[in-house]
């Protein structure tokens, strides 16, 4: 082999090795302990359901008053709603909407908190003080009322608009923590060494600071996902936001508004979305606890 192909070979080999290591780490983090494994499985289950479910269990909006409020059976595992439509298929169809809301909201919040937090910590000065003031404001004001106002002012009917509004409040707490971590990291020895060795700012930011806040970000990403679901369903129940009619929260609202609280025949209609929401949230919470165990090891007492 001549020189250039040897170099290429090395480069590819290195790259493959890095990818392999990366995947190994991912598996360790997400399936490393019982909780993480359970939580991740739940989320993957719903992702699969959301992506492939509608093909396996297609849902049509046809009304069939004859089949109104049927009890659970093999053809209708969750029964039917007031208009004879299969509740189970509605839930399957709405899974993707729910997941979109959760992920988008988490992404927006985390990115916003990360950018502002890191800048605040690294740059300092007036910028820092201003950001801290903002976080203070957003942490003090009760969020739901302002949520409602914003939701009413700017119609919230899809995942993106909801994600934006939710991130307005979710970023504040995270931003503070990230900034605090950056500040404490800045003073630590290995950063000073980097400075002395005159490594570029970019290198310091991406290779040294970021990985340290990485675990915190991952855990909070999960937590924001949970809050996004809770918040979106809450908004739907209040009638200020309307997503896809198959969104679990929409099914829930529809059930509530059409007498599900009173009519025992509708209990399944009401209960099914609650069950799915609860399972999803449970998976998310357990995953966050599992990640915490893996990424923040503490000296454990037996």
């Amino acid at each position: 082999m001549n020189d250039t192909s040897a170099v290429k070979y090395n480069f590819i080999a290195n790259l493959l090795e890095k990818i392999r290591k990366f995947f190994k780490n991912v598996v360790r983090v997400f399936f490393g302990n019982r909780r993480s494994a359970f939580g991740t499985s739940v989320i993957i289950f719903f992702i699969v359901l959301g992506v492939f479910g509608p093909f396996v269990f297609p849902y049509s909006t046809d009304i069939s008053m004859l089949d109104q409020l049927l009890p659970p059976s093999w053809s209708h595992p969750f029964g039917t709603d007031l208009w004879g439509r299969d509740v189970f298929r509605q839930i399957v169809a709405g899974t993707s909407d729910v997941l979109a809301i959760a992920f988008l909201a988490a992404i927006f919040s985390v990115v916003l908190a990360l950018i502002l937090g890191m800048f605040s910590g690294i740059v300092g000065g007036v910028f820092d003080k201003f950001i801290m003031f903002l976080t203070n404001v957003f942490l003090t004001i009760p969020s739901l009322p302002v949520f409602l106002i914003l939701a009413a002012l700017f119609t919230v009917d899809n995942a993106v608009s909801f994600a934006i509004i939710l991130s307005i409040f979710s970023w504040a707490g995270m931003c503070r923590s990230i900034r605090a971590q950056i500040i404490s990291l800045k003073e630590r020895d290995f950063i000073q060494i980097c400075k002395v060795m005159k490594m570029s700012k970019g290198h310091i930011i991406f290779k040294e600071l970021l990985p340290n806040v990485g675990s915190y970000i991952l855990i909070n990403f999960i937590i924001v996902m949970k809050n996004a679901i809770t918040g979106s369903v809450g908004l739907m129940l209040l009638g200020v936001a309307s997503f896809e009619p198959t969104n679990w929260g929409a099914i829930l609202t529809s059930a509530k508004n059409n007498g599900a609280l009173i009519n025992p025949n509708s209990y399944m209609w009401l209960f099914a979305p609650i069950l799915c929401i609860a399972i999803f949230q449970l998976g998310v919470i357990v995953l966050s606890k599992g990640l915490d165990d893996t990424l923040n090891p503490r000296l454990r007492v037996m």
Binding site: L153, T230, V233, L237, L261, I277, A278, I285
Partner: protein, 347 residues
């Protein structure tokens, strides 16, 4: 030194001594300004159609012409699309400083202040009872289970905490009202007290108040108990690592005294500021919870006003709640620094 300089120096020393308090006060005031700004933006965005429909209402009610009604409407609502934003802001601030929070458009021009006065006590009633129960019960459970990590009680509590975190409070509320109010008919499904009983300091009335508040309180407590238990567990874990716990054990103090006076009391201190934040959070959750229980507090009024686009009610309640929350946070911060003898008496 001249007298002026001496006086200035005294003022400066006073400010410096309590500098932390003044800093917090300053931030609180600025936060309040931000909220006022937000409210103003809300008002300014009120569409003209609202004025028209209000004017129509007025003209019918007071039997005046539309033109007169329009003028009256604009006056009552402080609405002047021709004036500049700045002057409108000035008028708005003036109105606020006079303590006037505006009027309800949908509710016969009823003063928002009046609405608040009527409904606030109900929300406060439910909130404070729920908070008290959750806080004391939660800190008790949290400190007990931290000491003995492997007991049955500890495992039960952990299970409950996970469940409570997975199910949002409003869903608990839905379940409660469905089962206990609609299905079993034990509890009422709306109202703050029995409409048949006259309000007053009579026993039947007070009992009725508690009875109607039971379901909302249960829902709140179910959700918040887990929060306080977790907070306490976290704080208590930190305290457990402190030397004085072991030292107390070495002195032969029995477990119950250590848990109560050494663990719980020390772990509770950092939770005091959390108490204030929780208060704010409860006000935040009120719109949804109260609408599910049909409990007539300011939360229900708020969510109804949003749906009905009753702008002034919305901004009025928002401002009021924000003031309370900001104020409570400030007080809690101050109380914490007084209550913790370490900070209080540091030379």
């Amino acid at each position: 030194m001249s007298t002026v300089k001496r006086v200035l120096k005294k003022v400066w020393m006073f400010l410096f001594q309590f500098r932390y308090f003044f800093m917090k006060l300053g931030i609180s005031i600025l936060t309040l300004c931000a909220v006022v700004l937000l409210s103003f933006i809300l008002i300014v965005n009120m569409p003209g159609t609202v004025i028209d429909s209000f004017a129509m209402q007025l003209s019918i009610q007071r039997r005046i012409s539309m033109e007169q009604a329009m003028i009256l409407a604009k006056q009552m609502l402080n609405y002047d699309p021709d004036a500049s934003l700045i002057s409108r802001f000035g008028v708005y601030i003036q109105q606020l400083l006079q303590g006037n929070l505006g009027i309800s458009i949908k509710n016969n021009a009823k003063s928002v202040n009046l609405i608040l006065k009527e409904l606030l006590p109900r929300t406060l009633f439910v909130s404070s009872i729920s908070l008290t129960i959750s806080f004391f019960l939660g800190t008790f459970l949290g400190s007990r289970t931290t000491w003995k990590r492997n007991s049955i009680g500890s495992k039960l509590l952990d299970g409950y905490i996970v469940t409570s975190n997975a199910i949002p409070d409003y869903i608990i509320a839905l379940i409660l009202i469905t089962v206990f109010a609609f299905r079993l008919g034990i509890f009422p499904n709306q109202g703050a007290y029995d409409a048949m009983i006259l309000p007053g300091f009579t026993l039947p009335f007070i009992l009725s108040l508690f009875f109607y508040a039971t379901l909302p309180i249960m829902a709140y407590v179910f959700s918040q108990l887990s929060f306080w238990s977790m907070q306490m567990q976290g704080s208590a874990l930190g305290v457990l690592g402190e030397d004085y716990i072991n030292a107390a054990k070495a002195r032969g103090l029995p477990k119950r005294i250590i848990v109560r006076k050494y663990l719980k009391r020390n772990a509770m201190l950092p939770l005091v500021t959390q108490l204030a934040i929780s208060f704010g959070v409860m006000f935040g959750g009120a719109p949804l919870m109260e609408s599910i229980f049909n409990y007539p507090g300011i939360g229900l009024a708020f969510s109804q006003a949003i749906v009905e686009r009753d702008y002034y009610v919305v901004q009025g309640i928002l401002l009021f709640v924000s003031v309370i929350v900001i104020g409570v946070n400030l007080i809690a911060d101050t109380i914490y620094s007084i209550v913790d003898p370490r900070i209080r008496r540091s030379a």
